[in-house]
Amino acid sequence: MLQRRRHGRRCHKLAKACAQPVLSNYLDACASLDIGNMENTPLISVDLELTGMDKGHNEIISMGWTLIDRGRIQLGSNRYMLINAERSVGSSAVIHELLDSEVAQGRSLETGLEELFDAARGRVWVFHHAGLDISFLRKACESWAGLIPGFIVLDTMRIEYRMRRRREMPIRQGDLQLGQIRNSYGLPRYTAHNALIDALATAELMLAIASRLEPDGILELNSHLKFF
Amino acid sequence: MDLKTLTFIVVGATFALYIGIAFWARASSTGEFYVAGKGIHPVANGMATAADWMSAASFISMAGLIAFLGYDASVYLMGWTGGYVLLALLLAPYLRKFGKFTVPEFIGDRYYSRAARLVAVVCLITASITYVIGQMKGVGVAFGRFLEVPFEIGVMVGMGIVFIYAVLGGMKGITYTQIAQYCVLIFAYTVPAIFIALNLTGNPIPQIGLGSSMADGSGVSLLDKLDMIVTDLGFAAYTAQKGTSLNIFLLTLSLMIGTAGLPHVIVRFFTVPKVADARVSAGWALVFIAILYTTAPAVGAMARLNLMNTIQTGEVGAVDGNLVYEERPDWFRNWETTGLLKFEDKNGDGRIQYYNDKDVAFAARAEGFGWKGNEMVKVDRDIMVLANPEIAKLPNWVIALVAAGGLAAALSTAAGLLLAISSAVSHDLLKGMIVPNISEKKELLASRIAMAGAILLAGYLGMNPPGFAAQVVALAFGLAASSIFPALMMGIFNKKMNRDGAIAGMLTGLISTLVYIFWFKGWFFVPGTEMSANSPDNWFMGISPESFGAVGALLNFAVAIVVSKVTAPPPEDIQHLVEDIRVPKGAAAAVDH
């Protein structure tokens, strides 16, 4: 709770300092975000495709997200966009099946972020393994708006990890990959690797985890949040 | 066990047998695709055909007719037997080669005319319904007696059962059911006859018993004795001929050719795949039919004798020569409840006088005995076969068996005819002519309605004055004989016969017969519109309206031939077809392999 209040104050301060109106609005909302349960808290599930793991050298090449309202994934809100990368895609193309030429057809990182933060206003972020994606987003924001915004996050990997630990379930290598966890919840297998599909897959997993933790699915979120 | 219970058991058991056979046949019919089912043996098929052929008219009415009309009734025997032979020899083989199994279909195609087909359909439906009337009457008599209810209620029960039987359909047409029905029927017919023949003459074979002398030691032959008894009471001698020879001949002929073409029997000839087998089974059928037909005169004569002996217990004219009404046997009481047997004590002596009060000479003598007219005001002929075993005091199980036999005869024939009628209405008339694009569902519905309609009509006519029914019989057989038979024969044997000739001939035969019947029986049977009284003196050359069908047929032949000579001949392909029909086809095909 203390963490939550401190995070709020920081966001509030940043909002005032921010020159980018979209980001400023986002931060404002973030500062006063009313967080309750799955049913009354809007979420946004996001995934980024990157050229690599190193935020110093690698870049975001696509973003995908979907919104969760009242505990229901709004399939109509699905969004996917390619981002113009400054450097070549290189070897990761094998994974993403994105060629340089296609990446070049995308939009600039700035407009992409603008749309993303607009969508994320008033919402709690959902990631699978939030750390990596957040670090890239923070870096991108820094060069876009000159500041590092705050994030209130539900990390499906972390929640699942803590739950398994609490239940003393063995955790082996690879068990916490998105596909593996989904499998254990009986969720459909997605073959493709794509930012939107992964965002959607993460959203579905969030719903599944919520109903596992709380049989009626209306999970109180506060104890599962992570603040960046 | 009392008779009623026993009858229920026996009738129930036979029905269970038919249904059981039907189920067994259904269940075992789906085999592996490449294993073809076995054919039916000609003897078995002959039995099945005989069951189809023998109706309530054969089982119940014929012996009754013979019992009361004496020798004259043998025209029915001869007519119906002849009709069968005609069907088997002249008609079935050629229709088969033509590939048609109903008469209207043959006539429509042979004379390339829908009008001709329509006439044929209407004639056959009328004839068939008439035939069903006879079955309904028989069923009504049987049910009335054994349920101990009035005849009318018996008919209504029968109507219900016939409808269910015909709609379920499954029990009909399965050869083994038919065979079972034949067995029940022939057993029920001959067993009582054997007992009675043994009683009366000491000879167990009824056909021989009929010509033997009485077993009472008098040495008088059975027929002489019967003649004696009936003439004593003013009835015509049993063995006498009562009509002119020409009229009897023509009546026989009308019945014969009017019967040929009844749809339910024709179909039987086409269920045997091989022509040769069909011929053999037709022969066997004749044998099986003959067993019943030759027994009928014996049953008739003996029943009459027993009836007369029961009532006239002693000397004619003696005070104690007649049965006391209060001492009448049970069967007498039971038949009284059906309303088919009625007694009226006209002279109030408490005894039954049964004699011919129409005979002027005897009526005068009877007056002398103090008799005030015939007191048996109603003796329905159709009760004779059913009452026979009771009159002869045979065991109860024999009596129950006869009931089952009568029902088997009536049901098998009625169901066959009703299916033919419903198919003719729904398929030939409705789909063939009126609504060609009718859906199968509606066709099925129409067939059910037609069937119910036919049963209602036949039941109604069966309940109402038999005189009326008899007139319809005359009309139907007369029409079939005068219109259809000549068209069939010429279609098969005269390749030059054309559409115009056939239609002109059919119309001539139809109209002349209709007019002759209406002339004596009233236009459309409305009483009082007769042009002259229906008595032998007024008849043309002594020919009764019932016998005129044969004359109509002759007129039909004559007109058809004349008209066909002056109009265009039939198309080439039809002529070739007719030629082909009469040339044995298998001959050429059998050589090469």
Binding site: Y185, R212 | A36, G173, S423, E440
Partner: protein, 607 residues
């Protein structure tokens, strides 16, 4: 991949949405909400106002107010809308039988969707019969001709000269040109036409092209499916066909274009068969058939086309074997026709088929000639057996001398059956009236069929025997319309869908075909022709067609399942392996067959 395409792609595999246009699918997808329900959780307790739900993953139980089981739905299944249970529309609840991912469409959106799409509306407002019909009709929207990469058509006006046409063709490097009058397509001219009708006929090159073109060429409608187009091209041996929409040509397609649009099309096999050089190679190839069949079924191709495609492959094998035989034993000494009977003739083969075939010779063979055909038949029949088309248990095969005779003798076979229809003859006729030329002189087959059909049409007594035989195969319904299961010969019980479902229908339709004098063997086309001939009422026709499709779909689906489980495909389907909905549909289909059989019984007075 963009936005909602993930959802719309899935919907595209789900009936009835698979018949929707992509635009509509995308609109629909954008209105969906995904919800996760763990096992046992109630999804809703009353279907009123529940909108529509699509099962993306998992399985759902539908229950009544007292929680009694009504039906089960699984992945791709729909619920939430009005459903008839036992012919009665009732309110119901839904609960997750497994962990489920459900896509919800709100009631208001569902109403709008139905309003926009009358076809969907009909699907959802189903009554027994309409549902049967809808169930029989969905599942066939595959690639349409409109969606294909087309070649630009090269066109020329009908008044142009032959020379101009030839020049245009060589300039554009095409082998055919479409002839137009104004905006309308009136003909086509190919290289071959120029050779045969111009050069060989010594025609002046300034003659109008109109005179040598093929008038009213065969075309493909823009909404024709890929399967139908391919089958037409293969049957008629066309290399390419114009695609037409409203009389105007959109372009040309070749069989290759269509095949390329389908990742692995079954009919590719047909081409490959003709490239093989030995029986052994064919045998290797034939091993692909089971998996191919399984895929055709699971992809939900319609059963009529599955039958055609499987038969096409059989035909191709047969023709190839005949070619090998002619190479091995030399040229045939006289013209002949190789004929297929039964399901191959009807183009209704499925997973496992026996071979039924024969040979018509042009005339009576000498001993030497008879010897040749005996060897030929032996070669082909043995070959087919090796390819998995096992010998016919009734020996209806060309290797049986009885079915390898002259046209005249064949006619006498039919004469004998028709004149003296004993049970064996009737059984034979039901096989032999379904006859089709696979290879050789088609006119021999046509003449025989014409003869036999005419004789059967004229002889109602013979048809009556056939009718009685037809009624031997009754649908498996007992008292109170309960299913009657039979022992399948090994251990378990099931509904004999072939003998008591498919066979009765093909038999009934064959009767209609004989009544109308139709020589076509395929059941669906027979129905069509019988309606055209006024021999069948449209409603009766569509009932039988729907029943056939439905029963066959269940049967094929079950066979595919058995094959994927590594078992031999059979025709016995245990009733308890069918969903309640399927059982009801199946029952409805059987009832239609019973009705048609009753009508047949009435028509021929057999019972």
């Amino acid at each position: 991949m963009q936005d909602v395409s993930l959802a719309s792609e899935f919907l595209h595999t789900v009936p009835p949405f698979n018949s929707l246009e992509w635009d509509e699918l995308r609109t629909l997808a954008s209105k969906l909400e995904a919800v996760y329900y763990p096992r046992g959780k109630s999804i809703f307790s009353s279907s009123s106002g529940a909108g529509l739900a699509v099962i993306r993953k998992g399985a759902v139980r539908l229950v009544d107010a007292e929680s009694r089981f009504l039906d089960k739905r699984s992945e791709g299944g729909l619920f939430g809308h009005g459903i008839y249970f036992h012919g009665e529309l009732k309110d119901y609840g839904a609960e997750a039988e497994e962990d489920c991912l459900i896509w919800h469409l709100a009631e208001a959106e569902f109403a709008k969707l139905r309003e926009r799409n009358p076809l969907l509306s009909e699907y959802f407002s189903s009554h027994l019969k309409t549902r049967l019909s809808a169930a029989a009709q969905v599942q066939h929207s595959f690639t349409q001709m409109r969606d294909l990469q087309r070649r630009q058509p090269v066109t020329i006006d009908c008044n142009a000269s032959i020379r101009e046409a030839a020049k245009l063709m060589s300039d554009k490097n095409v082998s055919s040109v479409l002839v137009m009058r104004g905006p309308d397509l009136v003909g086509i001219v190919t290289d071959k036409d120029l050779r045969v009708r111009v050069l060989a006929a010594d025609l002046e090159s300034d003659t109008a092209i109109e005179r040598v073109m093929t008038k009213e060429p065969t075309t493909l409608s823009a909404d024709a499916g890929a399967d139908a187009a391919l089958l037409l091209m293969m049957r008629e041996n066309y290399h390419h066909l114009p695609i037409v929409e409203g009389g105007k040509p959109l372009g040309l397609v070749t069989a290759g274009d269509i095949l390329r649009s389908q990742s692995e099309h079954p009919l590719r096999l047909v081409r490959d068969i003709h490239k093989k050089k030995s029986v052994d190679e064919l045998v290797v190839m034939s091993r692909r058939l089971p998996s191919l069949f399984e895929r055709m079924v699971t992809l939900g191709r319609d059963v009529e086309q599955i039958g055609r495609m499987v038969t096409h492959i059989t035909d191709a094998f047969t023709v190839r074997l005949l070619q090998f035989a002619e190479i091995e034993h030399g040229r045939p000494p006289m013209p002949y026709a190789w004929i297929a009977f039964g399901s191959q003739a009807r183009e209704e083969q499925t997973a496992r088929s026996d071979q039924d075939n024969g040979i018509i010779l042009e005339r009576k063979a000498s001993d030497e000639e008879a010897e040749y055909f005996s060897k030929l038949a032996q070669f082909v029949c043995t070959g087919l057996d090796r390819l998995g088309y096992v010998y016919c248990p009734g020996e209806v095969m060309a290797r049986n001398a009885r079915w390898r005779v002259s046209l005249a003798r064949w006619k006498r076979h039919f004469d004998n059956w028709i004149d003296e229809p004993d049970p064996k003859s009737v059984m034979h006729s039901s096989i032999f009236f379904d006859m089709r030329c696979v290879h050789g002189e088609a006119h021999l087959v046509e003449e025989l069929l014409e003869y036999a059909t005419t004789r059967a049409r004229e002889n109602r007594i013979f048809r009556r025997f056939m009718a009685a035989n037809v009624l031997h195969h009754r649908p498996p319904l007992g008292f109170f319309r309960r299913f009657v299961q039979e022992d399948d010969g090994s251990h378990s019980e099931g509904l004999n869908l072939k003998h008591r479902g498919i066979v009765p229908i093909t038999d009934l339709v064959r009767m209609r075909a004989l009544e109308a004098g139709i020589t076509e063997p395929n059941t669906f086309r027979r129905i069509e022709l019988a309606v055209k001939a006024g021999m069948m009422n449209e409603n009766d026709a569509s009932s039988l067609r729907d029943a056939l499709i439905l029963i066959n779909r269940i049967r094929l689906g079950y066979q595919a399942e058995q094959m994927s489980a590594g078992q031999d495909p059979g025709n016995f389907v245990p009733a308890d392996e069918l969903s309640p909905l399927m059982r009801r549909n199946l029952k409805a289909a059987f009832m239609l067959v019973v009705e048609a059989q009753n009508a047949l019984a009435l028509r021929y007075q057999v019972h």
